[in-house]
């Protein structure tokens, strides 16, 4: 197996709000191998963004706080690093594409300036050179007349163009790990496919590892090798992508895949809605967070929160129930 680039253990993040403490992430553990693409799926507010922001030390504090856990990048814990140390990793070795392209660019600086910035600070080149590189990167992600548009401001870009510029910015320093938070949600299908092609090509060229957060199971099928399914701040199932689609173990995953007829990258199916409401994160759950919506719910589910346990060599699941039989897991 390839060496690990990222190893997250027992990561938990909370937010102090006026109404109480929000348990956004409740002890998640996962690994990322060199050159591997890991998908993270789950419905809104299940803690996907908070997980990756925590790893990079980008949780706004206050109100947020990483309360436990570690995140080792190439053997060094990102969570205990000094500001100066992690600064050299952010944008250069681990870079991030943010969810909202509308608000993630500074409105008063030109696109060129912002895309060039990581190159300028991490590679010690002149601003002029960095701008030139930025032009090439924008062309690479398919922005027409890239050179001329360097001096545009973000409001002069469409949402899709901004999203592409954001990807260009993240790729600027050829990172080891690319964290992409729903990067194609705002784009139409053709552009989505283009972007995916670019990312796949770069991944193969640079040997870049990717964490790809999405709602779109179709994208995950065509892109990722492994998938984490998150629910209520927990990872409830983790498996290689084919295995997950073929033998989903968690009732939540089964629900998600419910309407997906087959494993097919061109089927862009959004998460189907599952009856019931997402969990309230105001208190740390003592029972299974999915129990109120689970068709297989048993007594034990209401008393004990199931841990994430190995089901198979590469397949882990956090559930007391065996969905095949509807009874307790052996």
């Amino acid at each position: 197996m390839a060496p690990k680039v990222l190893e997250v253990k027992d990561l938990a993040t909370q937010f102090k709000t006026r109404d109480g403490i929000v348990h956004a992430v409740n002890g998640v553990s996962f690994e990322l191998q060199e050159g591997e693409t890991l998908g993270i799926v789950g419905e809104s507010a299940c803690g996907k963004t908070v997980t990756v922001l925590s790893i990079l030390g980008l949780i706004p504090s206050p109100p947020g706080k990483v309360v436990s856990g570690s995140a080792h990048y190439l053997g060094k814990d990102l969570l205990t690093m000094s500001d100066e140390e992690i600064r050299f990793i952010r944008g250069a070795q681990i870079s991030m594409v943010f969810q909202d392209p509308m608000t993630s660019f500074n409105p008063v600086l030109t696109i060129g300036r912002q895309v060039a910035e990581p190159i300028e600070i991490h590679q010690g080149v002149s601003r002029k050179e960095a701008l030139e590189r930025a032009g090439e990167l924008l062309a690479l992600v398919g922005i027409p007349n890239a050179k001329e548009r360097l001096s545009d401001y973000p409001h002069q870009f469409s949402g899709g163009m901004r999203q592409r510029a954001m990807i260009a910015m993240a790729l600027a320093c050829s990172p080891t790990v690319l964290v992409a938070d729903e990067p194609t949600t705002a784009l139409d299908v053709t552009i989505q496919a283009q972007i995916l092609d670019i990312v796949k090509r770069l991944r193969d060229q640079l040997g870049m590892a990717i964490i790809w957060i999405t709602h779109d199971l179709g994208i995950i099928a065509g892109l990722a090798q492994r998938v984490n399914v998150m629910y209520g701040g927990f990872i409830v199932e983790e498996a290689p992508v084919k295995e997950l689609y073929a033998h989903p173990q968690h009732p939540y995953t089964i629900g998600l895949l419910g309407s997906l007829p087959r494993l097919d990258a061109s089927t862009h199916t959004r998460l189907v809605s599952i009856d019931g409401v997402p969990p309230v994160l105001m208190k740390k759950p003592t029972s299974c967070p999915f129990a109120p919506r689970c068709p297989f719910v048993m007594d034990r589910c209401l008393q004990e929160n199931p841990p994430l346990l190995s089901f198979d060599t590469h397949h882990r699941v956090a559930c007391w129930v065996d969905p095949k039989t509807g009874g307790a897991r052996a």
């Binding site: 980008l58 500001d83 600064r87 943010f98 993630s104 660019f105 409105p107 600070i121």
Partner: protein, 360 residues
């Protein structure tokens, strides 16, 4: 941009017209006139004076005459002098125009505010030339002080939120907003002028001729010795509102997504603040510069009285007591123009800071 300026110019015309009409009406509604004295002047003399200044005409005619003198440009032909230049006649009390220049033999003259009734040998234009630079200097010093103290104080308070720096800065700000110049002025004079004798309690440290007609020619210790107390007294209130606004605005900007993006790129915290946060956070600060400028202008009236500064404000207050109609009208119109210009300047600065704003 051109359309914007044309619109602003038309708007200014309208403002000036309304302001002048209101001022004119109010001025004449107040009992007493420029030549009323404790001991009344003989009727013939009064009639003569009134006739000389057209005060015997109906008010509407007087107003029309005033507008005509101020608004309508005049052209005249200059005579050649033997050396080949042109002879420029020395303006009299009744034809002293603020704007006056010649192209060849044609002289262009605009804005005649008339003579001052109180000081018989001076025109309103003379009063402007002598008094206005002092007020301008006081205003600029106060604005400079307000910005130099307010912006850094606000930034410091925001970056060190909920620390001693924040509390200290905001205490100063609250003190500043709640103590007006009319209280602070005399206290400062008493402490630094009278008791400690560090600074002159009254007066102003620059005399004509002024550089470009406005700026002091002796910008040194002698100037600042006089300027520092009144500028602080007048500027403190503004610096307090600037500080509070800067703090609030920076605190909000720091929570924006693009600041997180900047951090995710691996930018040093110093650059995150200076490059990504500051410019954005100053946008709301620029918007209050317009009203702030107006507050400073009116503030100079009181400040000049307290510190005995021979500026426009002091002269203006006296002119109201004297019913010196042309000076009252002239000053109000001049300040109205100034405020409109200041607001145009604020708009331009706004557009410079925020690329999303374009005027057309």
């Amino acid at each position: 941009m051109g359309r914007y300026f044309v619109r602003r110019l038309l708007w200014m015309m309208l403002v000036l017209f309304v302001v002048s009409a209101i001022t004119f009406g109010l001025m004449h509604a107040v009992p007493g006139g420029p030549f009323s004295r404790e001991k009344a002047l003989p009727q013939e003399i009064l009639d003569n004076l009134n006739a000389r200044y057209h005060l015997d005409e109906p008010l509407v005619v007087q107003y029309a005459r005033y507008l005509y003198d101020v608004m309508i440009p005049r052209f005249s032909l200059l005579e050649k002098d033997p050396d080949g230049g042109y002879i420029k006649p020395i303006p009299s009390l009744v034809d002293d125009f603020v704007i006056r220049f010649n192209i060849g033999a044609v002289e262009f003259k605009w804005m005649n505010f008339g003579p001052s009734y109180a000081s018989r040998s001076r025109t309103v234009n003379d009063v402007f030339k002598q008094q206005l630079p002092v007020s301008f200097q006081l205003g600029m010093m106060s604005l400079g002080f307000a910005l130099l103290l307010g912006v850094p104080m606000g930034i410091l308070a925001a970056l060190k939120q909920n620390t001693i720096w924040d509390y200290l800065g905001m205490s100063v700000a609250i003190f500043g907003v709640s103590v007006p110049v009319i209280v602070l002025g005399p206290i400062l004079v008493w402490i630094f002028g009278v008791s400690l004798k560090w600074l002159p309690p009254t007066g102003w440290g620059s005399q004509p001729p002024y550089v470009l007609g406005l700026f002091p020619s002796n910008l040194g210790p002698e100037f600042f010795k006089y300027a520092i107390m009144p500028s602080v007294a007048l500027g403190l209130v503004s610096s307090a509102s600037i500080a509070r606004l800067t703090r609030a605005s920076l605190l909000q900007v720091i929570r924006e997504d693009y600041i997180r993006t900047a951090r995710a790129k691996g930018l040093m915290e110093r650059l995150v603040i200076t490059r990504h946060a500051l410019k954005n956070s100053l946008i709301p600060v620029v918007t209050i510069l317009g009203p702030l400028f107006a507050a400073l202008v009116t503030g100079t009236f009181i400040t000049e009285q307290i510190f005995g500064i021979p500026g426009m404000g002091k002269y203006f207050v006296t002119s109201i007591t004297n019913r010196d109609y042309p000076v009252i009208m002239g000053t109000i119109l001049l300040y109205a123009i100034l405020l409109v210009v200041a607001n145009v300047f604020v708009d331009l600065m706004y557009a410079y800071l925020d690329p999303r704003i374009r005027y057309d």
